[in-house]
Symmetry: D2
Subunit: 342 residues, 4 copies
């Protein structure tokens, strides 16, 4: 049994952490902090969780970071805020899973350029994608939980990059549900603006681009040129990533499938689809990343598709997966459930 606190429990990743952790047999939730909702009952705000475990007794509190001494802390805080909080926890040897982008980059210059923020200083951390960095995650006390788009994209491309069978120039065309834009209303998320639309945005400037690139470079030890374009779709949850790559040499579909089956052989949260195309509702509410398509066209273009739930494998679920690894629990503890389909 471990104690866990959540800093910033009011956003979508915060409530999703509560939904998942309240179902986890080895976790006791200690604090959920919120300045704005200080004193309010958790399930008065997140009414979907009413009646679950002891959540009805939990209350949002504006707890000073200094007073938090849980075994694990999740920082469900925005970019820029995490780097103010994390160092204070870090020095007290608390295990930290940070859901922001603040500690994801080896190269701080890239962070500062794409996030347009001055960084408070690097800490020893590991990029929390267990399928790639599991052994290192076991050893670290600060995990930088991956971004939602990078999770879908890196898992989709890693085997190809590792094998070196595709050209370095890769096009990623992603489609995300609106929960990815967060809990706060805006013009873009106003129902009549997104309903019956599909909106490309930050077509060449999304800050998940360098994150994908940096991680793929680590895998291949070569430069990879990622051209990434996201689209907002009239869907609540999920990211479907379509990757367009070009094969270096002539290969058969079955060869590619073989590579993926081998690469992800023992992974409990990766499902390889040889026949059907993965669907967002198949991963809805789950920690799975489904991978499929493996289609090759007349010009050697290989099209691959992955699906994740952006709030689970793309954020909070992956955070709990990292916690399980760091705590020495079974990696799937509290995380294995089927997708809400339909």
């Amino acid at each position: 049994m471990i104690t866990v606190s959540i800093i910033g429990g009011t956003g979508y990743t915060g409530v999703e952490l509560l939904r998942i952790l309240s179902n986890h047999p080895k976790v006791e939730i200690e604090h959920i902090t919120s300045r704005k909702l200080d004193g309010k009952g958790i399930t008065k705000v997140h009414t979907n969780l009413k009646g679950i475990g002891n959540l009805d007794n939990l209350i949002f509190k504006d707890v000073p970071i200094e007073n938090i001494d849980s075994d694990f802390v999740f920082c469900a805080t925005p970019h820029g805020v995490s780097m103010e909080i994390v160092p204070k926890l870090y020095e007290r040897d608390i295990k930290i899973i940070d859901l922001s982008g603040d500690y994801r980059f080896e190269n701080i210059n890239i962070y500062e350029e794409w996030y347009n923020l001055k960084h408070t200083g690097k800490l020893r951390s590991i990029y929390g994608l267990p399928e790639i960095h599991r052994e290192d995650i076991k050893k670290e006390k600060l995990v930088a939980n991956p971004g939602c788009f990078p999770t879908g994209a890196i898992l989709l491309l890693a085997p190809l990059i590792k094998e070196g069978i595709v050209e370095d120039r890769i096009i990623i065309d992603s489609k995300t549900g609106v929960s990815g834009a967060g809990i706060n209303p805006s013009n873009t998320t106003h129902f009549p603006n997104i309903n019956e639309n599909i909106l490309p945005y930050k077509l060449t400037t999304h800050r998940h681009t360098p994150e994908i690139e940096e991680e793929l470079k680590k895998i291949s030890n070569r430069n990879v040129k990622i051209s990434f374009t996201p689209h907002l779709a009239p869907i609540t949850r999920g990211i479907l990533t379509t990757a367009h790559t070009f094969l270096n040499e002539s290969m058969e579909r079955d060869d590619i499938i073989g590579i993926y089956n081998s690469f992800y052989k023992k992974e409990p949260f990766i499902r390889i689809f040889c026949e059907e195309i993965p669907k967002l509702t198949g991963v809805r509410g789950t920690n799975f990343c489904d991978i499929g398509a493996f289609e090759i066209d007349r010009y050697g273009r290989l099209v691959m598709v992955s699906t994740i739930d952006n709030l689970v494998k793309g954020a909070s679920g992956q955070g709990v997966q990292n916690m399980n690894i760091m705590a020495g629990f079974k990696e799937t503890e509290g995380l294995l459930f089927g997708g809400l389909m339909p």
Copy 2:
């Protein structure tokens, strides 16, 4: 540990039973029958369940009823089909949860009139709404699992009816997600026909009407006149029921809330909302029935609202709740999880 079989595992209630039961610590799934999909892997069809428990090893089989001797059998079969199958299981003392309408009615004439079918003959059974009939469910071997609309409507109205504080004439205006129409495509469920629409249907002739009426009469020992109109909404899951009733005497909102809190005091799956209006996403994927509104207008009309997930509390989840009761398990076993919101 009990063994369970599902007859008719291809529809939405079948897959939902699998999703829930695969998460249940005391259940071993034995057979899932299907004539159409005989020989196909369960998770080849229901890809959302891939990688969960041992579901990847289960195969649809066209098993003769005679060969099924699990402790429990769920009949996820259509109206008319259940009454051919159930008697064969019944005589062998297998515990049965029938999801069709075939054994829901005390009065077979009402069934035959509204379903336009000749019944094969009544069997001793109990209407499987645990919040009303828990003690009897414990004793029976055949449970008629309630319809989706009746579940939301009866739970919404039972306290009022029991107290006798509203007029006998009640208007129920329900809004259901499209999964309620089943897994087979039709003109009505063709995306361009239901998207951007909300379709009233069977406005005065839906066969859940007499089911609601019969159950409410049992509670009050008086005639209740239910005027029920369903609408199909561009939503996948959930039923929101708006009940318009008229108070017999002047009452305050708090009195009504008090009645509900008292009536449902110990119920693990009923959540009373005093402030917010219940939302479908709050119960999505769960076995909860949320009840709220309690608003009274200038003319003594009391408006009440309930929400359920039509496939869980409105079908398969409630079936598992009944199984838990019949098997002597904790009633919430394998059934307590928060709603998938957003």
Copy 3:
């Protein structure tokens, strides 16, 4: 040819007026005012109208009311703002179509109670529902354009009320698209909050209630008790109104249909549906009000359904219809087009 100005051209009713008027052969648009967008090109904001007529040359201006002397002025201004503006136009004999609620009520006390505003003073005006008040609209210079819910509800109920064949107690359960909530984002209209939901709101307190009631009383010269409950549906445009009434005497469906066909015999914008149930997409983008259902249940409840596009017949289209009547044009001028189905 007449000149027309629009005060408040930034909201949904403003852009919808532009969409309709730009297609009207006898209208020249003079001013579109906006404080916020002063100096911006109309079609830079409302990009859907780019390339239509001379709209690319029109610019939002913060024109003082005193400088406006078009033949007709549409006030697409919020409640409370109209009553500051309208008197200034009124005294200069400009013909005014006010889309707010400020001049809809005979009884100012009712307005002040439900809108929680002090009124600046009544002016001679007419409630702009042409199917009921056409002859008076011809004579007036200030038309109070009806609310969206009242348009659908009054047209749906008027024939029944006039004939006096239903009880005075009427339940109206309406379902509206999200554009009815206006162009400004809010928690309610945040996509993940309304998608996959249907939200009852102001269940007994919506201010369109007394508007419906007052108009129906005028028709019947009797008190009518309107119990009105709106729901927000995950749809952009349209209002579907379900009315639950109780017949005073036994009648046949065909009798009711006969009453409606007769009442609306010559109306170009009312379509009576005897077979199909009206659909929102059938009226989408149009000025039609479709009426249907006419179903009677075992207890003498008569269920009726109407559909309108809330932004057209429920607001801007009806405004143009009123303008046509006041200007002596053909009533359907610029307003007859088929619904955007699918």
Copy 4:
């Protein structure tokens, strides 16, 4: 005034032709044929068109092709059916606009390979994309109306291809509304299957691929390698096309915009967006093709976006545009209206 008949009036393109033509001042609709609906009133089936012009008097008829002698005939018939019908009309000098793929290809072998059909024989025809082939359309009597995806893709890429400033390898990632799948229900279009999903399909094998390729080759006189992947989105109408191309040489965004403004300078149905990204609701119900984005990333990838209404500019509206050209009418006659936004 010309007379027009529609062969195959029951699908989405048929009803859309009726919606548009009923608004056209110079067209008299003569026949709408349907085997299945022979004898049924047009507006009994397409209820959205009730009350428009004289459509209430038109009746579906199973008219033999021999008996049709309108000035213009639209074949809204499926691939394979058109090539049985068109020759019979062609020999009688009727002007024909064929909405199928049967006469779109110069090279019949390509057609036979991708459509898996034996062709009945080529006829002199012109590919009906007015922005590219206007002068030739004027002279021909058989127009092959373009496919929906090709319309959006060719108009998006033509200026780049003509200028020869991008590499020959082009990736087109398209997102279409479900009306593109036609009026008949299927598993794919079943609401619970497409709602909350976005489905890639025929990822490397869609038959619009060679159509795009053939037309772009005509423009450039060079080989162009089109890699095309469509996705089905939970939207009713519209196609958003995202093109990923690579510039041959370093260029600025403004240079590209200049090329487009110049190429489409006089086109009434092409709107170039320099600031906003085009939205599907901006073209909904219209004959516009909106083009925008013009963004260049670190690796010289140029991302371009176009939006059309698949049933209007992508089918029936473009058909009427072709008819206007062939008949010597103003090209925009009956076709200029603003998008239904929101």
